[in-house]
């Protein structure tokens, strides 16, 4: 059968109950969706199916049919990133990167659906099934909110202020500082 991945029709021959995740990674070498838990619990494999975020590990090939599949490879390109990708880059919202593709796609779908600024609770709901084991959620949530407001790229990044030292730093003899 043919599978529409990132706007390109690709021939696939995996058996019908093969997960979309496995078809993408093993047969088509589209590697941004990650094998995490393989039971729908982590969100690392999330792709867009006709624009809606779905766990690719839970979708059998037979159920995909002629739906449009979008992965991070189809979201943007180096030098031409989608707003949510730019915001993740600007705001250090990726650490090890394993959850990032799923987070980006779920966030992108939320922003597209809302069509304007999203609030914190909406981000938390949309990403509630996405696990970041580096626990970098603060910057991820900030990046999604910023992307929804168009605060990407040239926008100056507001750095959180360092707390004022309440007393002079104590020099320790022999320390490399």
């Amino acid at each position: 059968m043919q599978l529409n991945v990132n706007g390109v029709s690709r021939a696939v021959s995996s058996p019908p109950l093969t997960s979309l995740l496995e078809v993408l990674r093993e047969e088509l070498a589209v590697l941004s969706p990650k094998h995490g838990c393989e039971q729908g619990g982590c969100g690392a494999c999330t792709v867009l199916v006709d624009g809606e975020p779905r766990r690719s590990c839970l979708l059998p090939l037979a159920a995909v049919g002629d739906a449009r599949i979008t992965t991070v490879e189809g979201l943007g390109a180096p030098g031409d990133l989608a707003p949510v990708q730019s915001a993740f880059h600007d705001r250090y919202a990726a650490q090890c990167g394993y959850c990032t593709s799923g987070m980006l796609l779920a966030a992108h779908a939320l922003i597209e659906r809302k069509g304007g600024p999203v609030d914190r609770d909406e981000v938390l709901d949309a990403l509630s099934g996405h696990v970041c084991r580096c626990t970098g959620y603060v910057k991820i949530v900030e990046a999604v909110m910023a992307a929804s407001r168009g605060q990407v790229g040239a926008e100056p990044i507001e750095q959180p202020l360092a707390p004022e030292p309440s007393q002079p730093e104590i020099e320790i003899a022999g320390s490399p500082a």
């Binding site: 058996p15 729908g40 590990c57 059998p60 709901d125």
Partner: protein
């Protein structure tokens, strides 16, 4: 027999699905796939000669004019947004938006308990609302009360086509979850006020959801929430499993019952 040897059937209508299901003896019914796909990944798929995939069979309508009818392939997301309580609250309580957009009423209803704990997040709500299950066996459609459907689920395969219920006058739902979106609720209590009184049901205290008849009787006798919830454990022996101990369930069930009754405003 390998997974790829199972013949895939994709009926294009409910009637086709009933025909393809036949007596159901050699059929694995595949609805949303949120339970079966992990079973494939873990080599625990209930392999049979034929796999009946219902994704294109329709069966996904909700009608709520007067009585409520919900098709088997209606997603939990659609139920969560339907305003039909206590079903909507129970559906909202499941996992995250992506899972709710794929998981179905029929799959949830037929889900066997997992190795780790109970499944079937909607069972208590359906039981409280006195839902009836429209299903098919050997080409014949029938409708049966949800209690009977659940009790007979292991003995005779049936193809669920949908559920029907009288819209409750008032309803309430209270659950105890673990913190992560994807943990099954440890326990849930649903209440529904129907024309002939309040029904109360609990999930997570037995293999499948059960009615709490002592609580119902106490409410019918005019008991307040505190007093009515004292009988929550009558006749029940909650199990130990990976989600919680029997002791914990005994402690928490009466609290959930009290909260649900209070929420109903009838306590």
């Amino acid at each position: 027999m390998g997974l790829s040897d199972s013949e895939i059937l994709m009926p294009a209508s409910g009637a086709d699905a009933v025909r393809a299901f036949g007596d159901g003896r050699d059929v694995t019914v595949f609805a949303g796939g949120t339970i079966l796909m992990p079973m494939i990944a873990y080599r625990r798929y209930p392999q049979r000669a034929r796999t009946l995939m219902l994704g294109r069979a329709g069966l996904n309508q909700i009608s709520a004019d007067g009585n409520v009818a919900v098709g088997a392939m209606t997603t939990l997301a659609a139920i969560a947004g339907s305003g039909v309580e206590p079903l909507a609250a129970a559906a909202r309580d499941v996992a995250d938006p992506e899972i709710r957009a794929q998981a179905t009423l029929g799959g949830n209803l037929c889900a066997p308990p997992s190795r780790q704990g109970p499944r079937g997040d909607l069972q208590a709500a359906l039981l409280a609302a006195r839902a009836e299950v429209r299903c098919a066996v050997a080409g014949r459609e029938r409708i049966e009360p949800i209690d009977e459907f659940l009790a007979g689920l292991d003995a005779e395969p049936r193809l669920v086509l949908g559920v029907e219920l009288e819209r409750p006058r008032r309803a309430a739902y209270s659950s105890q979850r673990r913190p992560h979106a994807h943990s099954y609720a440890v326990m849930a209590v649903a209440c529904a006020e129907l024309a002939d009184g309040v029904r109360v049901a609990a999930a997570g205290v037995a293999k499948r959801a059960v009615r709490l008849r002592s609580v119902e009787r106490a409410l019918a006798d005019g008991a307040a929430a505190e007093q009515a919830s004292a009988g929550a454990l009558d006749g029940l022996e909650p199990q130990d499993d990976a989600l919680a101990s029997s002791w914990y369930r005994r402690e928490v069930l009466p609290v959930l019952v009290r909260r649900a009754i209070t929420q109903l405003g009838g306590g």
